[in-house]
């Protein structure tokens, strides 16, 4: 299209906009006088009252009464919670005190913060506001022993899990140049599959966690390979740009995430096996047996991956393709096969990471996405595209997150890691192990 035509297009666009604006102004004058529907009048205040059952699952507390009082102290609305603990009231615009009627709580259940009942909310027309009334004791248990050492142990645990998930991300980046935003969903998928096999069961059989994990790892690897085969390989063949590939991976990330939310639900859930374990008090720190096993497994897997990369033919080929794809291809390495295997192993490791993370914390629909950002921090710290960099970077990120809680509030600990990501890019963008040439 020539410049003249371009100008003509702009001119047309301008005329179009003008016409639309004029039409709007004319129509505004014709504003009808129909009554306002009740639906948009007033605001909604709502919430969900939940407690943890023996399995640590969050369940609703039914038949508890909530009342809303206006500023003069008059009761304007009341409601009781449903089976799932949900409640909601529609009240006119204004400021209200929302009171939970403590009398109606079941025996043995108490508010965590009795002084925050009633809670004050301000509502305007058409708005909707959630008000939380947490029940029971606070979830954070005070750490025994030396806090710093406890945090180092926790950080190491977190870092190992991030590392396991991040290796695939880094290798896929190295071999194909794709920053795969959907890698987080492989982590979630692994955790959710484990929940399915361990808690919900298949054909009525609840598998113990260990065989379940093996099945999950196999399934995740298979799905990763399939994903590469059906989506990424055809895209590479067509010579699609990396930006297009990036956007496609984000599309998959969002799509999968919400499919998981749709099917798995929005609440965090815990695996059935190894849930309640007495923590060993080792003087300097406390550790649950499952956490020790988890760390041993992680270290074993990571050492295994590292030595495979270093010693086996395929591992060397992977590193070669990562380093310089064209050169590797010219020396007779089947690059597509290497990429296939990178997808399979990377996804399998991500799935395993998901199960382990689900074991130490809980499983929810967006856990993978949260971990993905920590993976980015780890991988960037280590140097994008390098397998060992990803490993060390992730462990440092894990340690950093836990230790940062000494200074910043626990609920903001991940902010520290993400801030670190930005600072690294500022001072050493190639990461600890990367080369200057990669980033330009």
């Amino acid at each position: 299209m020539g410049g003249v035509q371009l100008v003509a297009t702009f001119a047309r666009a301008r005329r179009g906009v003008l016409a639309v604006v004029v039409a709007f102004l004319v129509l505004l004058g014709l504003g009808s006088n129909g009554p306002v529907s009740a639906q948009e009048e007033g605001g909604e205040v709502k919430g969900s009252l939940v407690q943890k059952n023996e399995e640590g699952e969050r369940v609703g507390v039914p038949s508890v009464t909530f009342r809303a009082f206006d500023e003069s102290g008059a009761e304007v609305a009341s409601t009781t919670t449903g089976e799932d603990g949900a409640w909601s009231m529609v009240v006119p615009e204004g400021t209200y005190d929302i009171l939970l009627d403590v009398e109606t709580l079941p025996d043995g259940v108490a508010l965590r913060n009795p002084d925050k009942n009633p809670a004050q909310v301000t509502l305007i027309d058409g708005s909707s506001k959630s008000t939380l009334f947490p029940l029971g004791e606070p979830e954070e248990s005070s750490a025994g022993g030396n806090t710093v050492i406890q945090l180092i142990v926790d950080g190491l645990k977190l870092g190992l899990i991030i590392a396991m998930c991040a290796i695939g991300l880094s290798l896929i980046y190295g071999t194909t140049g794709l920053t795969n935003f959907a890698h987080g969903e492989a982590v979630t998928f692994g955790a959710v599959m484990a929940y399915l096999l361990n808690n919900a069961g298949v054909f009525g059989v609840q598998l113990p966690l260990i065989p379940a994990t093996i099945i999950v790892v196999v399934i995740c690897g298979g799905v990763g390979g399939l994903f590469n085969r059906t989506v990424w390989r055809p895209m590479r063949r067509r010579g699609a740009s990396l930006v297009a590939a990036l956007v496609v991976s984000i599309g998959f990330s969002i799509f999968f995430r919400y499919v998981i939310l749709f099917t798995f639900g929005g609440r965090a859930k815990r695996l059935r096996d190894y849930q309640i374990q007495e923590q060993w008090d080792l003087g300097l720190f406390r550790l649950a047996p499952k956490d020790l096993v988890l760390m041993i497994i992680s270290i074993a897997v990571l050492v295994g991956v590292a030595s495979a990369l270093q010693l086996t033919r395929m591992g060397k080929a992977m590193r070669a393709v990562s380093d310089n794809r064209d050169l590797a291809e010219s020396t007779g390495i089947d690059v597509e096969r290497v990429i296939s295997l990178v997808w399979i192993f990377g996804s399998a490791l991500a799935g395993l990471g998901g199960v382990l993370f689900g074991l130490t914390e809980s499983i929810n629909w967006e856990m993978g996405f949260r971990i993905l950002l920590l993976m980015f921090a780890g991988v960037t710290l280590g140097g994008l595209g390098t397998a060992y960099g990803a490993l060390f970077g992730s462990i440092i990120v894990g340690l950093f997150i836990q230790l940062s809680t000494l200074i910043i509030p626990t609920d903001m600990k991940n902010v520290g890691a993400l801030l670190m990501l930005i600072v690294i890019l500022l001072i050493r963008p190639q990461g600890l192990f990367g080369r200057r040439e990669r980033i330009g």
Binding site: G2, G3, V4, R435, E437
Partner: protein, 285 residues
């Protein structure tokens, strides 16, 4: 190609034919420039001076570090150690774009014609000191319209000279390889440089266009500009360069007028080392 070439070889009177030779009026001086990638030393040049107003060729076998050195001279890469002076300005820590504003403009081995912009937009982009390149002033066309008209006029004149006028309003992506080289060279002139750095101006150009490109390069010198180019095409080197600098394994191994180079033992060794069956034919690709 046998026509008597115009030359500027008199500018080199009294300059010895040896690596690192001092020139009568250097425009660009590199000293102790070194750049390593990992363990590999790509460039390690003790000293180089480039004579003002002449055409200097930078040649050497593959992997000699020509392009890396070229990038270092134009500040598209930072050396690990060493200094580069352009017109007396130290280039250390100066951004690449500022080098262009100092009067040294470069082209690229793989042409960087901006393919989704029209040819004339490509050209006008090269204009320096444009008022309309400030966001706020851009909103008030009367502030820059006159300057834009001048720039467009100059661009049209250059397009005419480089025989690209008929493509004026086409997307640059539709040009042939040779036309892109021409466009890139014309665009570089929009900057009004004192020195033009050409990275393999003949690569991928069809033979029919080569002569016209050569004439344009000579034209630059005749207008008083200094030209430094990296090239493999020995015909071009022989025909238009006033001075040749030969690199091998990151170092400068020989300097001198084109006639002296073909018989230089160090040069023959360097090329023989790289291509053992191609004797004295310097046309290494």
């Amino acid at each position: 190609m046998t026509a008597e070439p115009s030359t500027a070889q008199h500018l080199f009177d009294g300059v010895p034919f040896e690596p690192g030779a001092a020139k009568n009026d250097p425009i660009l001086v590199a000293d102790g420039v070194r750049r390593a990638f990992g363990g590999l030393v790509a460039v390690d040049v003790d000293h180089l001076e480039v004579q003002r107003g002449a055409i200097t060729a930078l040649i050497g076998p593959n992997g000699a570090g020509k392009t890396t050195f070229f990038n270092l001279l134009t500040n598209f890469d930072e050396p690990d150690t060493g200094s580069r002076l352009f017109e007396g300005n130290d280039l250390a820590g100066v951004s690449a774009y500022k080098v262009a504003n100092l009067g040294m403009v470069r082209t690229f081995q793989l042409t960087k014609s901006l393919s989704k912009m029209t040819v004339i937009d490509n050209m006008c982009l090269g204009g320096t000191g444009q008022t309309g390149e400030s966001f706020f002033k851009a909103l008030f066309p009367f502030l820059w319209r006159r300057q834009e008209a001048e720039i467009t006029e100059r661009a049209d004149a250059l397009l005419e000279r480089f025989k690209l006028s008929h493509m004026r309003d086409e997307f640059a992506g539709t040009l042939s390889g040779g036309q892109r080289k021409l466009l890139e060279m014309a665009r570089a002139l929009m900057v009004k440089p004192n020195m033009v750095m050409l990275d393999e101006p003949m690569a991928g150009v069809n033979p029919a266009l080569k002569q016209s490109l050569l004439d344009h390069v000579k034209g630059l010198r005749d207008e008083g500009m200094t030209v430094l180019f990296v090239e493999h095409d020995m015909d071009m080197v022989q025909e238009i360069s006033d001075w040749v600098v030969v690199m091998a394994e990151g170092r400068i191994i020989a300097e001198g007028p084109p006639e002296s180079i073909a018989s230089n033992q160090a040069v023959i060794d360097a090329y023989l080392g790289a291509h053992h069956d191609s004797a004295l034919d310097l046309e290494a690709d």
